[in-house]
Amino acid sequence: MTKKSASLIIPLVSILLGFALGAIVLVATGRNPVSMFLALFQGVTGFTTKTGAFNPRYVGEFIIQSMPIILTGLSVGFAFRVGLFNIGAEGQVLAGSMAAIAVGLWVKAPPGLHVVLVLLAAMAAGGLWGAIPGWLKARFNVHEVVMTIMMNYVAFNLNNLLIVEVFKSADRVKTANFPASALLRDPALAALTNGSRFNWGFVPVILAVVAFWFVIEKTTFGYSLRAVGFNKDAAKYAGMKVNRNIVMSMIIAGAFAGLAGAVLTVGTFNYGRALPAMEGYGMDGIAVALVGGNAAIGIFLSGLLFGMLKAAQPLMQSQGIPKDIASIIQAAIVLFVAMKHGIDFLLRHLARKKATQSVEEAGT
């Protein structure tokens, strides 16, 4: 198996196994897996198989569910390429969201410019939230995994604090609505999809996917980032600035996640929100990045896959399938991808053993 085909086969097998496991769980608990697959079909295409009715609202909702997790997938994937595990996309999303709320509510700017300022501020805030663990990793070798987990909870509580104390939420749950100039929402797009929350957020998402691909694959900077990911010491020996690359990669990863915060705040919603619990966009991003092989196009596709699972949840629930089967399938896919690394390792180990054996046999 060549490396290229392995990077394609492992995620595909994992996805199949994940869905198979989900179907088994459904059967074992007396539910009909066919209903789940029909719900998934309806969630993506908008077609109801029973009546043949077409409702584009489902398609719109499918796309808006995919947008933030493609971005968090890019965030996790970008850091992975430099050998860092960014569990902190969750917190970086919230940092971006806080900045988006501030610029959305407080800054007065003409339509067109305002929303761009919101997006840029969110990226900057996410980048900053990512820079902290990045710098601590580079300067003090602080483990980024535990650090980013802690920062997620700091961001989560900080967001709830700001919503009430600084953004002066009247009901302690949501802020005032943003002015129309700050929004990615557009009545025309909503009308196009029969009143879904579909919005212009897909433009920055696609730009982000292209930027990821370009930076990683086509620039010298991206090459040196990947070199650090492959082998830190060798990259250092070759004269690359390892520490700078670590900090930069976390800033860029944070910016992707921060952008997701803006897409959620001024796209999916039109007000800032206090959260009762973590929403899991960062965790989704880990699944998206792993299945997507940490490459731009792969992340885009796997983002759509997991977006489909999320979008179909209400449909599943209405057909008597507990919607949490989606999280079970998602977790199973991640676990299989993780295990596949091991299986691949095992296969290579066996191949090596066989090779040494035949050498020994040839020697006697």
Binding site: I87, M151, A332
Partner: protein, 315 residues
Amino acid sequence: MNILLTMIPIAFVYASPIIIAALGGMFSERSGIVNIALEGIMMVGAFAAAAVTVILEPITPAAGYIGILAGVAAGMIFSLLHAFASVNLKADQVISGTALNILAGGLTVYLCQIFFKQQRTMAFTTGLVKLSVPGLADVPIIGPLFFKDVSPPFYAALVFVILAWFVVYKTPFGLRLRSCGEHPQAAASMGIKVARMRYAGVVISGALAGLAGGAMVLTQDIQYTVASVHGTGFIALGCLIFGKWNPFGVLGAGLFFGFAQASSIYAKDIPFLKAVPLEVFYMLPYVLTAIALVVFSGKSVGPKAAGEIYDTGKR
């Protein structure tokens, strides 16, 4: 002073699951397997404990204790997945742990829907009954603090701290466990079965985290919901780091984090804390852990081989 007297038992209630789960994390990491799935294991343990308690409560007064045992068992079974992935299949331990955390949220709520037809378990009526030690409970000051209406997990936490210290530092098992976490190749060369020790470490962590989850839901909640554990597993992870992977350090850090949480409840009654928003207290354990991470960085306090994939050929 009165506030302090009522606050201390509350702090113990919050501290106990943190301490017990962190001790679990210690066993796993000492064996060389990073376990960020503590949160997920606690959720599974909490669900099992709450579900069994709800079902058995009409039948027996010991339902809460049977529930806790169910939590322990569920935690052990769930943690086997982590052990299998990271030991047998050499999966990245952080990814495997993340998968388990996602799985726990999905699986527990799914099972709630199957068994209870809603997103949460039914509410139990008593959970774990608080204990009073006869005689000692009447001693002034010390009585109300440590012996009157104490939540049983607090005693369990204290016992487990001493037990964990004894097992890890004073038994051959503990020495072998630690050697697997420091230098598994050297341990293997002395005839220690690294894979077996690591399974033991992870499954002990599953048992303790399951216990912690059960204790948490039965003392701090009225039913299991997806938010019942709300990040306590990660606080436990922080507690482990803050306590420098040492049982008594874990006890100290856990008590401190417990007080931080209890202060959020009592802040409105304490003059100089009144103005501080609640979220600041919620944030405190995470901020302190982050600071501890920076302070300890560069010093080798954690198990050296934790998180590394065990490669028998590595020198």
